[in-house]
Symmetry: C2
Subunit: 433 residues, 2 copies
Amino acid sequence: MERYDLLIKSAFLPDRGGVDIGIKDGKIARIEDHIEAEANYTIHANGKLALPSFANMHTHVPMSLLRGIGADLPLMDWLQKVIWPLEGEFVSPEFVRAGTELGILEMIRSGTTLFMDMYFFEEVVGEVSKEAGIRAGLGFGILDFPTKVAKTPDEYIKRAREFAKSLKGEELVFPVICPHAPYTCSPDTLRKARELAEELDLYLHIHVAETKGEVERIKEEYGNTPVRHLESIGFLSDKVLCAHMVWLDEEEIDIVRERGVKVAHCPESNLKLASGIAPIPEYVRRGVHVTLGTDGPASNDNLDMLEELSTMAKLHKGANLDAKAMDARTALKIATENGFSAVGIKAGRIEEGYEADLILVSTENPHLQPLYDPIAQVVYSARSSDIDTVICRGKVLMEKGEVKTLDEERILHEAKRWGERISSFLDRLRSQG
Amino acid sequence: MERYDLLIKSAFLPDRGGVDIGIKDGKIARIEDHIEAEANYTIHANGKLALPSFANMHTHVPMSLLRGIGADLPLMDWLQKVIWPLEGEFVSPEFVRAGTELGILEMIRSGTTLFMDMYFFEEVVGEVSKEAGIRAGLGFGILDFPTKVAKTPDEYIKRAREFAKSLKGEELVFPVICPHAPYTCSPDTLRKARELAEELDLYLHIHVAETKGEVERIKEEYGNTPVRHLESIGFLSDKVLCAHMVWLDEEEIDIVRERGVKVAHCPESNLKLASGIAPIPEYVRRGVHVTLGTDGPASNDNLDMLEELSTMAKLHKGANLDAKAMDARTALKIATENGFSAVGIKAGRIEEGYEADLILVSTENPHLQPLYDPIAQVVYSARSSDIDTVICRGKVLMEKGEVKTLDEERILHEAKRWGERISSFLDRLRSQG
């Protein structure tokens, strides 16, 4: 008799109905109406919906310790007056560990099994990710100005090479080269980052065209819009993940499609920080590879991909006055399969041969009954608290609402302690005017 | 020693800190740091946030049985091809009872204690509301064409008068006169509805300027935009609640403000049905009384006011490219106090002398920690599952996540049975092409 590492009994697949799912070596090995087999662990789904887990393709997870600070400020004020002074004071490996634990706890609770992160001390983010059993594409922001990571562009590049080396052979965690943005990196820094990524065969992750102000600034400095600027220095390729991409013109969309660039759409951050509404339905229509991200939990203010997905699906219909601008299935694919495939992971579908990254969703709640169209109803009506079980690469990270790989009580306790220290500093900052 | 009907110990008020709240005769009688008193019932809030409960100012609650059907269709297709045929087949007092029970269950779970409803068989909605202990402003849609309620405008008006009489003396439930919309009611019908409301001293509730198409249609038929049309026939006053109000021009906004008309903004429905984005920050700036609603659970697809509120606060910043277009406190006020006060109820603030309509929100979840700015973090990051306790007019409707006034198990069971019957009909409808 065949034997699975994990067997899920009586799950419900939206386009098929009730099934059992056998998982082996981190992959979905078999899907049948009934599987009679032995398993190291068995989950009784009792008819819960099985859906792919989410891929959060742009975030700054350790910033969960700064969530809710400076609400209702535009991006540049929020960064310069609040976030950067706070980061200058507090960011350390200990801060990053506590913030990452809190953020990953929230991500597991809300069904995410891959996140693409850009922050400081990413080696710590990597350690916590491995402990938690979640996939992570990690890189610290490369900048032209000094931070706690490095002093000069050359030193950032050197550190990035060392960081990449340190993650060699890891299964869940992989290094990514993260030049911060065209407005914080010179063409020379961008070129060096690109060369390093090519040499080591890594993905690049960068912020691009987030605000109108950024477009104006890049135009003034380089005589070109951000995407054209990146194209002119040979930066773009199908291994580049560009976050935001709110302000592109027609020709820039063509460039992005031709180069195979991946877009990480962050609708709630773009709304909340008043950056704008990216023309995502147009990207999708023209064949651009679109993925979804929450952005950092200090700008969103959470890491809730189900909320992000729901906002995306509704927003683009309303903004385009077209109810067909984005249907529920497209939205779900953007939040799942498109994310994983953007970084070469065969996950995001519940099919044999795919990685076993999936969630079980309870529909036994008044807001999901009656259940006529499970995908549409999850997209438009579910909330993260309906997510019951989360599996990453065949490993159960949460079951029946209980996170298995992290100590929730200790993490919340430490988050509160950081919160107290940060609050005191904010009080001092305010009293100084 | 004084005695309260209900005493809440150790709640946390965002602008004040820890307090006890004494409730008597449905009102907040006293708020102090510590209250030593007897009480018929005591709730230990253990530091949970106390916030006003929500007022859902535009919905069609019984449609919860139709949620998720016809996703991704624009308003008119959705109504004509899907919803109206279904309603023709199914709507009955039994359907309305089951749908209302399901909807109110969801509303209590998500912190709503007042809803303004427009549907058929509203006497049944009233019965269920009283059983559930929730406030409701109710009226059936008055139309120029026949439905299960009445055949002619005069008959609708007669029925509305009878319905109003039947609710006389009720504490929680009050009648509202609901001409459906300027495109479904002739000027004569609108005038008669207005006269009846005036005679009986009732509020009017109507759909106005929801889509561009409606504006075109009203212009063609009456040579005027919807708000001007309503103004020209003397319909508007400070006792008129207009849902949607997406497509108003500058002068129409002035008319609305001058008349004291109340707006029920439904951002998620307007997005999902591709109706558009109402210029709410402009209304607020110009002193229009703005309230919030979910619209029916078949268009949204839920009755979640916290989600609606969060979407509203983010949406208008992004759509206006202005992070100050709507701050968190304004958003919360629109979703609470503005709703209650629009229909003359002194609730929506946690202050002595106000009606005891409030919720307790748990912040012991990773997505709400650390907690720096409770109001902003509830608006941008909380989800309805964080709502622990719901109190309406001093009565506990939910405590520690358990709904006290409704039989959740029976209601879900019946909703599923209705779902099966409706699914079979949809299958037949589809097989007929």
